[in-house]
């Protein structure tokens, strides 16, 4: 484990199953402590509420992408076929809005989807070359980790006992690998 001088230090509690983990999260928060993060091998039901995480704003990115796709597709089609290069196709009027709908529909969905993925990757800081921060390899397999900031817990000697009481298998102070 590479010890970085600036790396924040953490109190890491490992759990064997998700029920104990959620119970411990509730207990820690009931004590007025802030949960720094939780690592789990799969999404755990009720964990978000237990951690007090507010709802994701990702749908806003989807909506913005969708509206942008819709408006830009319609604007482009109108510009091309009405202002820039009108063509007589089957005697239809230049502004045949109905014929623009399929392209606008596809672009709405495409840009809504791409915007969602892009927003997710940016917000989660998932770029190429980034080094993942993981408390240990076991949280990608069968272990759950509850992580608290050391400085929040340093003056509360009861925290470690509390974590053990709620079924922690191991509680240790460490820096998270970068």
């Amino acid at each position: 484990m590479s010890e970085n001088a600036f790396a924040p230090e953490f109190l890491v509690a490992m759990f064997d199953d998700q029920r104990r983990l959620v119970g411990a999260v509730n207990a820690v928060r009931a004590r007025g402590l802030r949960v720094h993060d939780v690592y789990a091998p799969y999404p755990v039901h009720r964990l978000d509420e237990a951690m007090g995480i507010r709802r994701s704003r990702l749908p806003l990115a989807t909506l913005a992408g969708g509206v942008l796709g819709l408006v830009s597709a319609l604007a482009f089609e109108l510009y091309v076929s009405v202002y820039d290069w009108p063509l007589n196709v089957g005697g239809k009027p230049d502004n045949s809005m109905l014929a623009f709908i399929p392209v606008a529909f596809e672009l709405t969905i495409l840009s809504a989807g791409l915007a969602t993925v892009a927003a997710l990757l940016l917000r989660c800081r998932l770029f190429p070359t980034i080094r993942p921060r993981v408390v240990g390899r076991s949280v990608t397999d069968d272990q759950f980790a509850l992580v608290l900031r050391w400085r929040h817990t340093a003056f509360d000697p009861q925290v470690e006992r509390l974590l053990y009481e709620h079924g922690a298998r191991d509680v240790s102070r460490k820096a998270i690998e970068r």
Binding site: G90, K92, I101
Partner: protein, 386 residues
């Protein structure tokens, strides 16, 4: 009460009789004055009730085939909707007496001698024999599904669940073929010179929407009256809202797919269908149809909060159910009537049919426990989270 919770919700028999009587009076009065108008209304309402029953069956089949757990607790509601199938069957078969007012193929004189195969296919006895066969076929499946579901209540043997899944798989295939032919027989041939390869899909998409909207409405109403409290919460409503949003959009997609191609190619033999409907008289209804069936429900259901709100879901479901009636009305009436007529006659007949549906569904709900038992998905349904 012996552990099993049953609900007293049957429609008052006097009210049902009064509603049916209003319809009978309207039919008697109307047949003397304008038979085409009455038979139009009977076809529209009969097909509407039929769509309700088939929508319920499709809802169940789709849930079984996708292995959905969230809807296990509300399956009885969709099963109760199947109880309108015999009512709808009588309504549709009664059209035999009004065929002359509706269908060109029922006219006595064989106008096109050259079209030998078509005139054999649309010989009156064959068409109604087909109708009876299709209705019987669907009733057999409804009975099989209901019986397996009832057996499951008394026995935890997984065979019942497997049976329901198997019936669902066979039903969707049988339904796709039989319903396509039925929609051609009963609706498309109202305009014998017009065809559209999208037509059966279009009618089918409406059936799906109607089924989801009706299940949503009944579930919310039951929930408001304190039933289904254990098996339905905001997470289950959220899924119903998503289905409603998705299927109204599917309907709009099919609507546009049919309209766009006909408008684009603008061929005389195809465009007539829409020339009538966008002409004077019908255009307002044609425009309202698209708003009510897609644009308004889509905008209302898009935010997450509205899919989780019982009152919002209820009113959107009511709106969509009205929209379904209008959509079927627009498939039928422009072929049989000169101008739209929605008045006291139509309203009375709709009220009568509504009374019969209410009675059939409520007594079906009352007959059995409101929540299935021993379903392998029930535990997951109770734990359901978004």
């Amino acid at each position: 009460m012996s552990g099993v919770r049953r609900v007293a919700m049957r429609a008052p028999i006097a009210l049902t009789l009064a509603m049916s009587f209003a319809g009978l009076v309207a039919i008697a009065v109307g047949l003397g004055r304008d038979p085409a108008r009455i038979w139009t209304s009977l076809l529209v309402d009969g097909f509407y009730v039929l769509s309700l029953a088939l929508g319920g069956m499709l809802f169940i089949a789709v849930q079984h085939l996708s292995g959905a757990a969230w809807s296990a607790g509300m399956r009885r509601v969709a099963e109760a909707m199947m109880a309108t199938l015999p009512v709808a069957a009588v309504m549709m078969l009664a059209l035999f007496f009004g065929r002359g007012s509706l269908y060109a193929w029922a006219a006595a004189a064989p106008a096109h001698e050259s079209a030998g195969l078509a005139s054999a296919y649309f010989a009156v006895p064959f068409v109604f024999a087909r109708m009876a066969f299709f209705l019987m076929l669907w009733m057999v499946f409804a009975r099989l599904m209901r019986r397996a579901s009832s057996h499951q209540d008394t026995s935890a043997d997984p065979i019942h669940h497997r049976r329901m899944v198997r019936y669902s798989a066979i039903f969707v295939v049988v339904f796709a073929c039989s319903f396509s032919l039925a929609s051609i027989d009963w609706l498309l041939t109202l305009d014998p010179r017009w065809t559209s390869t999208m037509y059966a899909v279009y009618v089918f998409s409406g059936v799906l929407v109607e089924g989801v909207a009706a299940v949503t409405l009944v579930v919310v109403l039951l929930h408001e009256h304190g039933h289904l409290a254990d098996v339905v919460n905001a997470n289950h409503l959220h899924d119903l809202g998503k289905l409603l949003l998705a299927f109204t959009t599917f309907w709009a997609y099919i609507w546009l797919s049919q309209y766009l191609l006909i408008w684009y190619s603008n061929l005389p033999e195809e465009a007539g269908h829409y020339v009538v409907r966008t002409g004077s008289g019908w255009l307002p209804l044609f425009a309202v149809n698209f708003l009510v069936n897609w644009l308004v429900p889509f905008c209302l259901l898009l935010p997450r909060v509205s899919k989780r709100s019982p009152s919002m879901l209820k009113w959107v479901a009511v709106l969509v159910l009205i929209g379904r009636w209008l959509d079927i009305y627009l498939l039928v009436s422009p072929q049989t009537m000169k101008a739209p007529a929605v008045g006291l006659l139509e309203l009375s007949i709709a009220v009568a049919y509504g009374g019969l549906v209410w009675h059939a569904v409520s007594s079906a709900l009352e007959r059995r426990p409101l929540v299935v038992e021993h379903d392998p998905h029930l535990f997951d349904c109770l734990q359901h989270q978004q």
